[in-house]
């Protein structure tokens, strides 16, 4: 959407200093590197994936949350058993709003929360026997396709060997049983858990089913978790394009599909942070190339669909894609025209996840809104600065603890035609593994903040006086106390879907409703009568 109005942002150096002044010296020094004043033309290092400082209230979760909650949580034909005391399992009991469609077979264990509910004596004498009994019991009750075990913090300490128990149970029950050593203290955030989940699925699940499924084109969609039904929208596009979407990691997914996911021609990565590992490993072992896609935002969706069609170099496919875009864009435009006059120039801030804080800027841009500050909760430098910095990322003690698998080519299943295709496309200028990160897409002087704390968001709100603030439920009621609309981008505020064209329309309407509702008139934000720092600068027409 051609936007004539160019908005310049104020230099936030002062507010940054202000915020840091409140911290003890060492903390201030550390936090300074996590707050970068952006210049898209310049390479600047964004400190990220480093430990949260104790006592600074973080929105981050733990390794277990990333492994069990994020990656495996949305898969329905597996019994996920939390090995530990009750809380960890209870808190991750279907809290993320991943939707699923069990279809006619109806097999769906997502609504259950299984825990070994460790008691005192298990902590003292070990919990392996209880774990084995719990697995047998789950098998007896459900006869599931697979069972997985997730270790929580105390398990790591008492030294239960979940992997041996898994092996024994696998033998005894004749189904796939595997464990994740995803104790919460590993790594610095849920990110460690994503990596651990990727590894184990890759070694214990991917490649078990070699039957090549029908269709001319086969793909996987990686890093789409079907919050609020996003994946359902995307699945329809693939259907319309006659592309066989073999598996999605892991929205609306099954272990059965993962087992077959090495048979595809292309991997598409949505959330780079949580899932790039498996894309890389599949390429090494099976030769499957991967591309970055983004289906958040109508323009972004169109671009991604075209990119897929280009990969397959198929004219019929290309014209199908154009047809979809043409018809969907018509509706998109109608709604954009309605909401844009009410939203143009409004200011957004967002701190969320490992990719959403980037992707959702697209949607705000489409409405003519400006993102003045953004950041991730658990991302790494490559998610900010792009994959070009991968080699220069220092591996610290916390990352070293997370196993990096050595993957070798599978001589029988490797498909040499895929790397060949990749090479020829590369020559034509097609780009693979091309994640450039969030910062090049953000405006000059926008403030990029990693793992933002309570305190920092409070100060930044007072400074930017945003029209909308996006984060998670933990921030929601803080923000709303300021009289500012707050949109949850983890759980979508129980709304959605927001992916694809239909999703974009939902989002435009939702943001319009949120910003322009009468409720806010009853709450006067403290700065109601103060000039607005961003809008003031926004009047320059080009």
């Amino acid at each position: 959407m051609s936007d004539k109005k160019k908005i310049e942002l104020p230099d936030p150096s002062d507010i940054k200093e202000d915020i840091l002044a409140k911290y003890p010296k060492k903390v201030a020094k550390k936090r300074a590197k996590s707050m970068v004043i952006n210049d898209p033309e310049m390479d600047q290092e964004q400190q990220s994936n480093v430990r949260t400082i104790p006592g600074i209230i973080t929105q981050r979760g733990c390794c277990y949350a990333g492994c069990k909650g994020v990656v495996l949580g949305p898969t329905r034909d597996i019994v996920n058993l939390t090995h530990g005391p009750i809380g960890c399992g209870f808190y991750s009991w279907l809290t993320r709003r991943n939707q699923t469609d069990p279809g006619p077979d109806g097999e769906n264990y997502m609504t259950y929360c299984f825990s070994t509910d460790m008691q005192d004596s298990n902590i003292v004498f070990g919990g392996e026997k209880k774990l084995a009994d719990a697995i047998r019991e789950a098998y007896e009750i459900f006869k599931p396709h697979a069972i997985s075990i997730f270790s929580t913090c105390p398990i790591g300490l008492i030294g239960d060997d979940i992997h041996t128990v898994a092996r024994q149970m696998k033998q005894e029950l004749g189904i796939n049983v595997f464990g994740f050593s995803c104790e919460g203290y590993k790594g610095v955030s849920q990110s460690a858990g994503h990596h651990i989940a990727n590894n184990r699925i890759f070694t214990d699940v991917v490649g078990l089913d070699d039957v090549v499924r029908p269709g001319k084109f086969r793909v996987n969609l990686l890093g789409e978790y079907n919050i609020g039904g996003d994946a359902f929208i995307l699945e329809k596009y693939f259907e319309q394009m006659d592309i066989n979407l073999v598996s999605t990691y892991s929205g609306n997914s099954t272990v059965r599909d993962f087992e077959n996911s090495h048979t595809v021609d292309l991997n598409m990565v949505m959330c780079h942070r949580s899932i790039n590992y498996i894309a890389e490993m599949m390429e090494k072992k099976y030769g499957i190339p991967w591309i970055k896609v983004n289906f958040i935002g109508a323009e972004a969706t169109a671009k991604s669909l075209r990119k897929i069609a280009e990969y397959f170099e198929d004219d019929q496919l290309k014209s199908k894609v154009e047809k979809i875009i043409k018809s969907e864009m018509k509706e998109v435009k109608i709604v954009i025209d309605q909401v844009k006059p009410r939203l143009e120039g409004k200011v957004a801030m967002m701190y969320v996840g490992g990719s959403r804080a980037h992707h959702y800027q697209e949607l705000f841009n489409e409405m003519g809104m400006v993102t003045v500050s953004a950041g991730y909760e658990f991302a790494h430098r490559d998610d900010y600065e792009g994959r070009k910095v991968l080699d220069s990322i220092k591996i610290d003690a916390d990352s070293r603890n997370i196993e990096e698998l050595t993957v070798v080519k599978d001589e029988t299943k490797f498909r040499p035609e895929l790397p060949e295709k990749k090479a020829s496309l590369l020559e034509k200028g097609y780009r693979f593994e091309d994640y450039e990160g969030m910062m090049p897409d953000m405006k000059k002087n926008s403030l990029v903040v990693d793992d933002i704390s309570h305190w920092e968001s409070e100060k930044l709100i007072e400074y930017y006086k945003p029209d909308i603030f996006c984060a998670g439920i933990k921030e929601k009621y803080v923000i709303q106390k300021y009289g500012i609309p707050m949109k949850q981008l983890h759980s979508y505020d129980y709304g959605g879907p927001y992916a694809g064209f239909k999703g974009a329309i939902n989002f435009y309407k939702e943001i319009d409703r949120m910003i322009n509702t009468n409720v806010w008139k009853l709450i006067a934000p403290p700065w109601k009568n103060q000039p607005e720092i961003v809008a003031k600068m926004a009047d320059v027409e080009y």
Binding site: P54, G55, G87, W93
Partner: protein
């Protein structure tokens, strides 16, 4: 006394499937949030604190500043003292709180971090600085549920703060895990009796804040340190919860009794006429005053409603679940209105619930009682019993959905309805509200299913 076969479980399970309990530091956090200008600090990996905040937020819909000592792998091996030091200093810097309340986690307990010592050493290292009060409750979840954490936190507070002094006419009230609105209601009642009360703790305002004009990083309200100190010189303590009364271990009330000779009055949660009467009677004798006319009227209206609604409630089969003391309170009320409580469920395992329900409440012989259990066991029993209504928290929704029966939401957590903070359970006024909800849920179901669509039901 009744002994029934139906209370003999046919099968025990190794795993907990859909737990009907939450973890201990969550209970402690609720208590600590009721202390004025206090920041709770959960000692362990950050996941526990994040999850607990997340859970409390989805229920209370309020900011929930609860810090963590953010254990890393090293801390998990070598202990969390260094992390503790950093955390406390950062909390002081950002919040300047009057107190910091520490709760342990399974992890720190498994490592064996000696918190008393860690706190002592922290104070020694920072001698001469003006520090907030720092106190600690041990809350390993492998030893108990959120209710055990709740009571451990309450006890830790009085142990840390209560001191002897000139006897006062104040009353200590230990309300248990109820809603902010319940506490608000109880406060009014005590005021109307002319009693000065210290709620331990008072999370009425702190967990149900109005919209603010300027943001406060610590909410207003809560029990002050001065009030907590004066708990040691009060006239009496009122401790609500029948299992608590029978508990072997020390409670806040028994501690104050032993330490300072403060009489302890143990009552059930005042739900229903019988238990509310007991509560008001206790207040009458504490204050030396008759119950104010306002409450006589409330009681009268409640009895009147019982009579009017009887035809809808009588004989309807109800399943009640949640914290043990809440279940006991609810059952006592439901029996009064003619509902047939067929199953009582709790994840708690004080071991007292069965006995109290049978001996004190004199529940019917066919009522099944399952403690130390989970939702799946409850679901299995429900499929057989076919109740007409469920009464409990949001986590039982899936069972009500499967059975196509109403669920009246009480207790914690309630994250699929508005107003969890304002659900009223206690005293005549709270019972009235529960009564209306339950009866209306039954009427609504009947009306929805009537083939004609009558407007008189």
């Amino acid at each position: 006394m009744n002994t029934t076969v139906s209370n003999q479980r046919t099968k025990t399970y190794a795993a907990t499937r859909n737990a009907c309990k939450i973890c201990a530091p969550l209970g402690a956090s609720v208590v600590f949030k009721g202390v004025r200008n206090c920041v709770p600090l959960i000692h362990g990996s950050q996941g526990c604190s994040t999850y607990i905040r997340r859970y409390m937020i989805s229920h209370y819909k309020e900011p929930m500043d609860i810090a963590s000592t953010n254990f890393t792998e090293e801390a998990a091996i070598f202990g969390g003292e260094r992390n503790f030091d950093t955390a406390v200093r950062n909390i002081i810097e950002q919040y300047n709180p009057e107190s910091i309340a520490v709760a342990s986690t399974c992890l720190s307990e498994t490592i064996g971090d000696d918190m008393e010592k860690i706190i002592r050493q922290f104070k020694a290292r920072h001698a001469g600085e003006s520090l907030p009060d720092i106190f600690f409750a041990s809350t390993p979840s492998y030893k108990g549920t959120h209710m055990d954490g709740f009571h451990a936190a309450t006890l830790s507070l009085v142990k840390h703060f209560a001191s002897s002094g000139e006897p006062t006419n104040k009353i200590n009230v230990f309300p248990g895990f109820v809603s902010p609105q319940d506490i608000r209601n109880l406060k009014t009642i005590l005021q109307d009796f002319g009693l000065e009360a210290t709620f331990i703790t008072d999370y009425d305002e702190t967990m149900d804040n109005p919209s603010w004009y300027t943001y406060k990083n610590l909410p207003e309200g809560g029990t002050s340190i001065a009030q907590l100190q004066s708990a040691g010189s009060a006239m009496a303590s009122v401790e609500l919860g029948k299992t608590l009364a029978k508990q072997q271990e020390e409670t806040a009330g028994t501690y104050l009794n032993h330490q300072f000779g403060i009489p302890k009055i143990s009552l059930g949660l005042p739900i229903g006429i019988h238990e509310s009467d007991a509560f008001f009677k206790a207040l009458e004798s504490l204050s030396g005053k008759e119950s104010p006319a306002k409450y006589i009227a409330e009681r009268g209206r409640l009895v009147d409603a019982y009579v009017d609604g009887h035809k809808y409630n009588f004989g309807k089969k109800a399943v009640v679940y949640g914290e043990e003391d809440l279940v006991i309170g609810l059952v006592s009320f439901l029996e009064e209105i003619g509902l047939d409580v067929v199953l009582c469920v709790s994840g708690g395992k004080s071991g007292q619930m069965k006995r109290i329900l049978k001996e004190d409440i004199q529940i019917k012989s066919h009522t099944e009682i399952l403690d130390d259990t989970d939702f799946e066991e409850m679901a299995e029993r429900c499929r057989e019993i076919r109740p007409d209504i469920l009464i409990g928290n949001s986590k039982g929704y899936y069972i009500s959905r499967e059975l196509n029966i109403p669920l009246v939401r009480v207790g914690f957590p309630i994250h699929d309805r508005m107003g969890a903070q304002r659900v009223q359970h206690l005293a005549y006024i709270g019972t009235q509200s529960l009564f209306d909800k339950i009866t209306n849920a039954l009427i609504e179901k009947k009306q929805n299913e009537s083939p004609v669509g009558y407007k008189y039901m």
